[in-house]
């Protein structure tokens, strides 16, 4: 009886682990990424996920003319510098942070409203660890009211 109870508890903890990781992701997004958007106003949207090293993510968003934006892409400390690029509808790369010392944020404005794609890549570390590392990656946007 005691043993089965113990096994059930262990299983429960194991099953709840991904949920806890997601909850931690929210705190990470709020405390690390959102804070860094200032003086831009965070738009209130939440885009974050636990990613493995080597994994990629992409985000589609429309950006409007006459508005100044800050894109912030933050990764957990154990992941190393996160690469992100911004691509327009014709596939032209407008920005890639790997040519800017993997700067986590990019400030920009557009002459014409358009939809852009943000591509995020989690680097693969050189460590010899058997298990790939994983951590929270968050993409956030701030804007300036004119």
């Amino acid at each position: 009886m005691k043993r089965s109870l113990f096994v059930s508890i262990i299983l429960l903890i194991f099953l709840l682990t991904p949920f806890r990781a997601d909850a931690q992701c929210k705190q990470f997004a709020k405390n690390t990424c959102k804070v860094g958007l200032a003086p831009y106003q965070h738009d209130g949207n939440y885009h974050a996920a636990v990613l493995l090293e080597g994994e990629e993510a992409e985000l589609y968003k429309t950006f409007y003319s006459d508005t100044e934006y800050r894109i912030g892409v933050c990764g957990a400390n154990n992941l190393g510098p996160i690469e992100f690029s911004v691509v327009d509808g014709n596939g032209k790369v407008l920005y890639n942070n790997k040519y800017n010392d993997y700067e986590w944020k990019w400030d920009f404005k557009l002459e014409s409203s358009q939809q852009l794609k943000i591509l995020v890549k989690v680097p693969v570390s050189d460590s010899l660890a058997e298990e790939p590392k994983e951590g929270c990656v968050s993409i956030m946007f701030g804007f300036k009211e004119k």
């Binding site: 059930s8 508890i9 993510a57 992409e58 429309t62 327009d88 014709n90 990019w106 920009f108």
Partner: protein
């Protein structure tokens, strides 16, 4: 209570919880597969030149996010387009008591969030307080814990004349709601909230354009036409929640808007990023000014359809 005193009933409870999580896990997997197989038309557009199989493999391996303008951004776009504040356009807070289904509460959480953002950006203190309370009712009804708590309302009241703090509080409540739902795998509810807010933004904006106003060189009309650019994001968000009856019913409404937005013409030219070394801000310059064409007939049709959808959502 220690483990020994739990006894047999506690074992059954734990077994039950365990089974719920196993079933929940299976549902999430199914959900994930649906999403993966749903490979949006958006990705297809961007990868049109690549081999279909390759695109599918790439997309199934990637986490894909679709970001709609938040209620706060929508309100900012309306304000910066030079529009006025008109409280008569907002969903009356007295309606909040009549929403009892999850669909209505989710839609109206989005709608009230846009109304709240619009009121706050125009420094309407009393309306801001009224609409945060209406949004709270919807969030509570959806059991989105702590998205808007009593402390949030008190903080808002204490800073009612400080617009920056108010906007920050609204941004925080939006983040809390979305992250709460996303963390629990309730992406469909999150999508319905966002689409509700987006529809409300379109409703306010189309109704702020005076009848007979010049549709050319009109910033607000331009912003309305710009929503064509977000339409495939709205559709992808909803299509990715195929298992949700609510999301699919909203998708039908959005498809009616798609047919109208198809008549809006937006021509984009080549982009050239130019960085200002003083401010570190990059300007994405366009080779020629973007041409947005919306005829009066299309505008009126869009306004009529938005009015009809929004009336159903708030009723």
């Amino acid at each position: 209570m220690n483990i020994k005193t739990l006894g047999k009933p506690a074992n059954f409870i734990l077994l039950f919880i365990f089974l719920v999580f196993i079933i929940g896990g299976c549902a999430s997997d199914k959900d994930k597969k649906n999403k993966e197989s749903a490979n949006s038309e958006l990705s297809d557009d961007f990868n049109a030149d690549l081999d279909d199989d390759l695109v599918e493999k790439i997309n199934t391996a990637k986490k894909i996010f679709y970001s709609l303008p938040s209620p706060l951004e929508t309100a900012m776009l309306i304000k910066t387009a030079g529009a006025a504040y008109d409280e008569s356009l907002l969903n009356p807070v007295s309606n909040a008591d009549k929403y009892s289904t999850n669909l209505k509460m989710a839609l109206n959480l989005g709608i009230y969030s846009t109304d709240l953002s619009y009121a706050s950006l125009f420094d309407q203190s009393q309306a801001t307080l009224n609409y945060i309370n209406a949004a709270k009712k919807m969030a509570d009804g959806l059991e989105i814990l702590d998205a808007i708590d009593e402390q949030t309302i008190s903080r808002l009241e204490e800073n009612i004349n400080n617009r920056n703090v108010i906007i920050d509080i609204i941004s925080e409540t939006l983040l809390n709601s979305t992250s709460f739902l996303e963390d629990r795998g309730l992406q469909a509810t999150s999508a319905v909230i966002l689409v509700g807010g987006w529809v409300e933004g379109l409703y306010i904006a189309t109704n702020l354009v005076p009848p007979g106003a010049d549709l050319k060189n009109n910033k607000l009309v331009e912003r309305i036409a710009d929503q064509k650019l977000s339409l495939n994001i709205v559709i992808s968000l909803l299509e990715n929640n195929q298992e949700s009856v609510e999301a699919q019913s909203i998708l039908k409404d959005v498809k009616t808007l798609e047919r109208i937005f198809d008549q809006v013409k937006i021509e984009l030219s080549e982009n050239h990023p130019v960085k200002d070394p003083k401010t570190n801000v990059t300007t994405i310059k366009s080779e020629s000014a973007s041409a947005i064409t919306i005829s009066r007939g299309t505008f009126n049709e869009l306004k009529k359809q938005i009015d009809a959808i929004r009336t159903r959502y708030i009723s």
